[in-house]
Amino acid sequence: MSEKSPVNWDELEAKPEFRSLLGRKARFIVSATIFFMSYYLALPILVGYFPDLMKKQVLGKVNIAYVFALSQFLMAWIIAFIYVRKASRWDKEAAEVIKGHH
């Protein structure tokens, strides 16, 4: 289970490919997190402080509050889908970085 040759972690970490991979990954994670938290928190905030708007019926008797709540499910699935697609590309780049160490 231990590596055959001792790994120089600092050297790997300093590789430009690794730095660039991590930078792009972090940018995506941070922006996706800001987006989903804002979208999600908008729900209880609007519900709590703008109840009349949220009670407006838009689909038959179904109101904005419920439609917005359902859209959260869709939002979560879409972000997961985008992340997984990006992550499978990142996997390949990560494998390049550690090539020869497996």
């Binding site: 289970m1 590596e3 790994v7 972690w9 600092d10 790997l12 970490e13 300093a14 690794f18 991979l21 991590l22 990954k25 972090a26 994670i29 996706a32 997190t33 989903f36 938290m37 999600y40 928190l41 729900l43 209880p44 905030i45 519900v47 709590g48 402080y49 109840p51 949220m54 009670k55 038959g60 008797k61 179904v62 109101n63 509050a65 419920y66 709540a69 359902l70 959260q72 499910f73 939002m75 979560a76 699935w77 972000i79 997961a80 992340y83 997984v84 992550a87 499978s88 990142w90 996997d91 990560a94 494998a95 970085v97 550690i98 160490h101 497996h102």
Partner: protein
């Protein structure tokens, strides 16, 4: 009555068979604590879903929606959206850098003993909160179904769960979760179809009647799709809206700090599989929570108050079984109750598993014995003994609290504690180079302490509604920022830790490439 018993016995027999099969495969700590890291993506996805869709989800949420309408549906939304945090931030680094418990990731570059001691304390606290919720749910169902007393029921569940954990370990627990998740999805789907059938298979008719529901027979018709039945200013006073936001924050950030969910990612061979298991879980869990629309709101349009009474009060945990009985007769009621029972048993087993793993691995081996096992197999033995203790304590607390605490509410509190204590330190240890041991201990301690103190001072706490010092039921909006703040302050106010910072490069490479991660054991 006999049909219900037969189903119960059938499920229990099946799970015991799995346990004995798993017991024979349990050789060594990696097999016992992490199922040999041999679980596949879809299997673990189902198991995560199984671990997650607890009595709180099924019994608690249907009760919360039936009695508080839209405000109860927020649990469903928050429980799913929370998985984005797990997917983006926690699952893969944890799998790549850890071994058996959440604390492995934290101890990676910080002083292991203080960090593990605190993380273990917080794991045990969150698990106990969560467990009480499940035990209470189990007691209610069994009491109604086979007429056993609440006490007998709770003790029965406790003993069964111990058999799974002590003999079967993580492998048996995982398969119990998988079977239960499938049964629960079938039950939820059938229940939803029956509700739609009641409304002539018309979504329009269904929503029309939800907007003029008789609120389980208690009051004049109300529009349950309108927010505010529980947290609106008319009902909850001026703090209601803020309380609703606080609950929402706790729900969305809590999952990524739940120890029994986190340990699931150690059962798969690598980070890629951990990722795909989160996606599987999100698909299953999302579908389930959308279905709560039907059996939650639907229950309010169909049931009468008299059908959900226990001890003269409407009991939210009774809504789903009562709806099944009303719509599908005794056979379906028996099936739904057996499903709920299976759900609880499985979740309780998962919780006990993660709590005892944390005590044995973090506290016993690493804190007391400085990371060395004195005799082979000692860690597993200590975990088994801990399982007994955790089981006994939860049985006692569940009996003490009694049958009518809402399971979803208790779990909401467990989420607040998990989000305040565990999440800040997990995030900072992965993303912040400067983060040090004092910061981690401060974050865990303040997050845990502040959330518990605020719960005790809340309207549900020591002094009741009238004497509450803290006006919110859910402490998340205060205690989560406090957890982050304490972790940050603890770090910047103390000396830099060159050893921890030097190991950050290694942690980054490990977390993001999987180099040197724990491998699956070959069978």
């Amino acid at each position: 009555m006999s049909i219900a018993l037969t189903m119960f016995v059938g499920f229990v027999a099946l799970t015991l068979l799995i346990t004995f099969w798993a017991a024979r495969k349990n050789t060594g700590a990696s097999a016992y604590f992490a199922a040999g890291r041999s679980i596949t993506g879809w299997q673990n996805g189902l198991a995560v879903a199984g671990d997650y869709m607890s009595a709180a989800s099924f019994l608690g949420i249907s009760g919360a929606i039936c009695l508080s309408g839209y405000d109860g549906f927020m649990y469903s939304v928050g429980f799913l959206v929370a998985y984005i945090t797990v997917l983006l931030i926690v699952a893969e680094p944890l799998r790549n850098a850890g071994k058996y418990t959440m604390a492995d990731l934290l101890a990676y570059r910080l002083s292991p003993r203080p960090v593990r001691a605190m993380a273990s304390l917080s794991t045990l606290t969150v698990s106990t909160f969560y467990m009480i919720a499940q035990m209470v749910g189990a007691g209610v169902i069994i009491e109604k179904l086979i007429g056993a007393s609440f006490h007998t029921a709770v003790i029965g569940v406790g003993v069964l769960m111990l058999v799974y954990v002590v003999f079967g370990g993580m492998l048996a627990t995982t398969w119990v979760q998988i079977i239960k998740a499938i049964l629960l999805m079938i039950g939820a789907f059938m229940l939803s179809v029956l509700v739609l059938k009641h409304h002539g298979y018309s979504l329009g008719a269904f929503f029309d009647s939800v907007t003029a529901a008789t609120y389980a027979g208690t009051e004049a018709p109300k529009n349950l799709l309108e927010p505010g039945l529980k947290y609106g200013p008319a009902v909850a006073g001026p703090w209601g809206s803020l309380d609703f936001i606080s609950l929402s924050i706790a729900l969305v950030l809590g999952t990524a700090g739940l120890p029994h969910i986190l340990v699931r990612f150690y059962t798969v061979p690598d980070a890629k599989t951990a990722r795909s298991s989160v996606v599987w879980a999100m698909a299953i869990i999302g579908l389930f929570y959308i279905l709560t629309t039907f059996f939650g709101f639907g229950a309010a349009t169909i049931l009468q108050k008299a059908q959900i009474l226990s001890d003269g009060k409407p009991n939210p945990n009774m809504v789903a079984p009562a709806l099944a009985q009303h719509l599908g007769g005794e056979l379906f009621f028996a099936f739904i109750s057996a499903v709920a029972f299976a759900t609880i048993l499985a979740v309780v087993a998962g919780l006990t598993m993660s709590a005892s793993a944390s005590f044995a691995h973090d506290f016993y081996t690493n804190v007391i014995h400085h990371g060395k096992e004195h005799r082979p197999g000692e860690e597993v033995r200590v975990a088994r003994i801990t399982a007994f203790v955790v089981g006994a304590v939860s049985i006692g607390l569940a009996i003490y609290l009694g049958p009518s605490v809402n399971a979803a509410f208790l779990v909401g509190l467990a989420f607040a504690v998990a989000a305040s204590a565990n999440l800040p330190v997990i995030v900072l240890s992965v993303f912040w180079k400067r983060f040090n041991t004092t910061g981690a201990v401060a974050g865990l301690g303040v997050g845990l302490g502040s959330s518990i103190v605020l719960i005790l001072l809340s309207p549900n706490g020591l002094f009741g509604k009238a004497g509450a010092v803290f006006p919110l039921e859910n402490p998340g909006i205060i205690s989560i920022p406090l957890g982050f703040l304490a972790a940050w302050l603890g770090t910047v106010l103390t000396a830099r830790d060159p050893a921890a910072e030097a190991k950050f490069a290694e942690l980054k490479v490990r977390a993001h490439t999987g180099l040197g991660a724990e491998k699956a054991v070959a069978h």
